[in-house]
């Protein structure tokens, strides 16, 4: 309310504040939707695992991929999110922002590459049961989203001018940090399910 009554339309600062508020609302809504998306996969995981139809949750010889490798992917994702989160806080200076966003981008690209490599070299066939299906599907769904987020991150880096950016330094940029943190958190849950619980 305070935002909406502060200034008349011509006031760019008020409009920007309003936009920030809207982006904030929109971000939380999008995350709520995305939780339901991933919850569907987690449901599939537990459901198929509990049913174990035809004793084929994991067909003979199917073992989860290397835990260490999976952990690398998750840690990279987390590093992406944390680096961007730290850099995009309003309190962080322009220098920190310009330093950390490209770092985050590098981590993000590495996450996608590592995850993609793992998906190409699974060590089991996709026909070999429920577990391979869920592993491939959930990892792919996650890495697609993470990849899109990385592309957005790249656009923030390219938009960031030498003076520290006009577009990205606004509040919406720090809302984007929540999206990255969210995806990293999803990655951790997926890791626990797909590698540890299996």
């Amino acid at each position: 309310m305070a935002v909406r009554t502060r200034a008349y339309e011509a006031d760019a600062a008020a409009v920007a504040a309003l936009d920030t508020r809207l982006v904030g609302i929109g971000t939380w809504l999008a995350l709520a939707a995305d939780i339901f998306f991933f919850a569907a996969w987690w449901f599939a995981f537990f459901y198929l695992r509990a049913l174990n139809n035809n004793q084929a949750w994991k067909a003979q010889g199917v073992a989860p991929p290397s835990r260490g490798y999976g952990a690398v992917v998750v840690v990279l994702a987390l590093a992406t999110a944390v680096a961007y989160f730290v850099g995009s806080r309003p309190a962080a200076g322009a220098f920190l922002f310009r330093l950390l966003t490209p770092v985050a981008l590098v981590f993000g690209l590495a996450t996608c590459l590592f995850q993609g490599y793992e998906l190409w070299h699974l060590g089991f066939g996709l026909t070999e049961g429920g577990y391979p299906s869920v592993f491939a599907g959930l990892s792919t769904a996650w890495v697609i989203q993470f990849g899109l987020a990385t592309a957005w991150l790249a656009s923030i880096v390219t938009q960031a001018g030498p003076a520290g950016d006009t577009v990205a330094r606004r509040q919406p940029a720090s809302f984007f940090a929540w999206i990255l943190l969210f995806l990293a958190a999803i990655g951790i849950v997926n890791y626990i399910l797909l590698y540890l619980v299996a």
Binding site: R4, R6, L18, A44, N53, G137
Partner: protein, 623 residues
């Protein structure tokens, strides 16, 4: 603000419009097919067809102009501002990416009415086939393809038919906003619908898909490449549902005019609000399920194949977790329309405003906890059936509230019997039958005999066509004078109502009996003893189609051939959307209005007008 020097002034400059989109889509399709054939793990063409559809859609959206913004960002160029609505004039704006919610509303309206024509023709073909009890008019295979096309097309339509045209057009006007929160998302929620419809129609080239709208595997995994149309089309509708939901919710939460408190919000806006919450949370689950189905069909995973460690129950659970809220996505805006329109013509305040809102939220919340009522005989978790029976029947309580609020508003009113009011009353009658028959289906013992029969088919046509479409008609006669600037003829409107009302009931009521008498849904051959009833239904269905043609004629005639513009407020209604001029100015309100009273304060002594349109000094209202 200083523009950093590194940011270049370059822009992407292709003429972005629907034709460019189509020109992009065609090579996009072939690129996708080529790529899919290159990398597809199967020698069938599913990977190629799915990638083809996806590429074609993305290319279409790029041609329309959706990728300009992300690419401009990515290349470090200066990003285009949101289009200034003032520049957006002429007929051409309907074929371009417009960020004006009024243009999007009309784009939606016309698109959906065209889709409705095809869905309706499908229905007529189905009914024609059922004139005879064997499959002699339509061969069995063609018949189930028709069922699939009709059902999925209608689901696409009904998901968006109120939120799309009326929600987009009216919500900002009703809450005193000058734009939507996320115009690009809003436009996206429209521009994925035409590709979805075209991709769905493309299923006919592959011989149609055999699964109806439920898409149950393993049948949907046996099916031909036509199934890919179902998957991609439905996924695009899921995108439309989520994007539209985010936009609507953020708009309603963040862009209400000063003084537009939650208790002054019009009921239609509440209907959109609750339905958006459903779309936001249910559609992602559908998206996940469709992704699993895609993987099963293209990469040979086995999410849904019992012999390989999957389960078709997984699909049934995920699908109906989406599917049940989906039917309330249809009906909640309709509830909103009824509770919105009735007070204006009863000339009375809405009777029990807060209770009505609670009713909408009750329906919304409960609808997440009932999905297994579609699976009572499936063999899934029999011990849970009492719970789902109870939760399903509990929905009657908030639904009953909607009736109570409406009837209370009509009580001792001075009802002005306009065409919208007639349709509201028709809604009450039809939806009552739809709701009561729903209780029959929610009871496990009776569901055993009714499930999968024409009884359930009649039930959901009563709720969707008798409910949602009647509410749509009420909305059309009520709000089109604002949206198109022309009054629909009330005389034709009255004929239309009575024609449609009688034909509708004459079509669908006998189907309850047909269902009770042993006729399953989705069959082209049936017990010859039922041929009389079926012929009656088919003839009635032709009349029902005729009534829709009459509506189309009324709409086209009034829109394009009537010269006299509609009054700005032909119904003398209080609510905010009627206080702006017709046609609505590009930026809706000259100044952000200050809302000072509720929209339904009829008959209240010294009630103030709903808003001070002189504007609030110091309000942004979305710039």
């Amino acid at each position: 603000m200083v523009v950093p020097e590194r940011v270049s002034e370059r822009r992407l400059s292709i003429p972005n419009n629907a034709i460019t989109g189509i020109l992009f889509a065609i090579p996009g399709y072939f690129a996708g097919v080529w790529l899919g054939t290159l990398f597809g793990l199967n020698d069938d063409q599913n990977t190629g067809v799915i990638l083809g559809y996806i590429f074609a859609t993305v290319a279409f959206l790029a041609g329309v102009g959706f990728l300009n913004y992300p690419f401009e960002r990515l290349f470090g160029w200066r990003v285009s501002p949101l289009t200034d609505p003032d520049e957006n004039r002429g007929v051409g704006r309907f074929f371009r990416l417009s960020l004006d919610h009024k243009v999007i509303g009309l784009q939606y309206l016309v698109t959906i009415l065209i889709m409705l024509l095809f869905g309706g023709i499908g229905a007529m073909m189905i009914r024609t086939s059922l004139l005879v009890p064997d499959s002699s008019i339509t061969p069995s295979g063609n018949y189930i393809s028709l069922i699939g096309l009709h059902s999925v097309m209608m689901i696409f339509i009904t998901s968006a038919v109120i939120v799309g045209p009326f929600g987009n057009y009216l919500v900002p006007l009703m809450i005193g906003a000058r734009r939507m929160a996320f115009p690009r998302l809003e436009a996206l929620s429209f521009w994925v619908v035409p590709p979805a419809a075209v991709i769905l129609a493309a299923a006919t080239f592959w011989g149609g898909f055999p699964t109806g709208w439920t898409g149950y595997p393993p049948l949907s995994e046996q099916a031909s490449q036509a199934m890919d149309s179902y998957i991609v089309g439905f996924a695009l509708i899921a995108v439309a549902l989520v994007t539209s939901a985010i936009n609507m919710l953020a708009t309603i939460i963040g862009l209400r005019a000063p003084g537009m408190t939650w208790t002054r919000l019009p009921m239609f806006v509440w209907g959109i609000f609750t339905t958006s919450i459903l779309g936001l949370l249910a559609a992602p689950v559908l998206a996940a399920a469709l992704f699993m189905l895609t993987l099963d069909r293209t990469t040979q995973t086995s999410f849904f194949l019992a012999s390989n460690g999957g389960s078709n129950y997984l699909w049934e659970n995920l699908f109906w977790f989406f599917g049940h809220p989906e039917v309330y996505i249809f009906i909640l805006p309709a509830f909103g329309i009824i509770m919105e329109i009735v007070p204006h013509f009863a000339r009375k305040p809405l009777w029990g405003y807060r209770t009505g809102v609670v009713g909408l939220f009750g329906v919304m919340l409960l609808s997440f906890f009932v999905w297994q009522h579609h699976l009572f005989v499936s063999g899934i978790a029999p011990v849970l059936r009492p719970f789902y029976m109870l939760s399903t029947e509990l929905i009657s309580i908030p639904t009953g509230i909607i009736f109570l609020v409406t009837l209370g508003t009509l009580w001792r009113a001075r009802v002005w019997f306009t065409v919208p009011m007639l349709f509201c009353m028709g809604f009450l009658f039809n939806f009552l039958i739809g709701g009561v028959s729903g209780v029959y289906l929610s009871d496990v013992p009776t569901d055993v005999t009714l499930h999968g029969s024409y009884f359930s088919m009649a039930h959901f046509h009563y709720t969707i066509m008798g409910g949602e479409i009647f509410a749509l008609m009420a909305a059309a006669y009520y709000w089109l004078p604002k949206m198109t600037g022309k009054m629909l003829s009330p005389t034709i409107g009255r004929i239309h109502f009575w024609w449609m009302f009688i034909a509708f009931n004459s079509t669908f009521f006998p189907l309850f009996i047909v269902g009770l008498l042993n006729m399953p849904r989705r069959v082209s051959s049936y017990d010859p003893a039922l041929v009389g009833l079926n012929r009656w239904v088919t003839i009635s269905a032709y009349f029902l189609f005729g009534s829709m043609v009459l509506f189309a004629a009324n709409l086209i005639y009034s829109w394009f051939f009537v010269a006299r513009p509609a009054l700005a407020n032909p119904w003398h209604a209080r609510s905010l959307e009627w206080q702006v001029p017709t046609p609505v100015p590009a930026r809706n309100f000259e100044r952000v209005p200050l809302v000072v009273a509720g929209p339904y304060d009829y008959g209240i002594p010294n009630a103030r007008p709903v808003a001070d349109l002189g504007g609030v000094v110091g309000a942004t209202g979305g710039g």
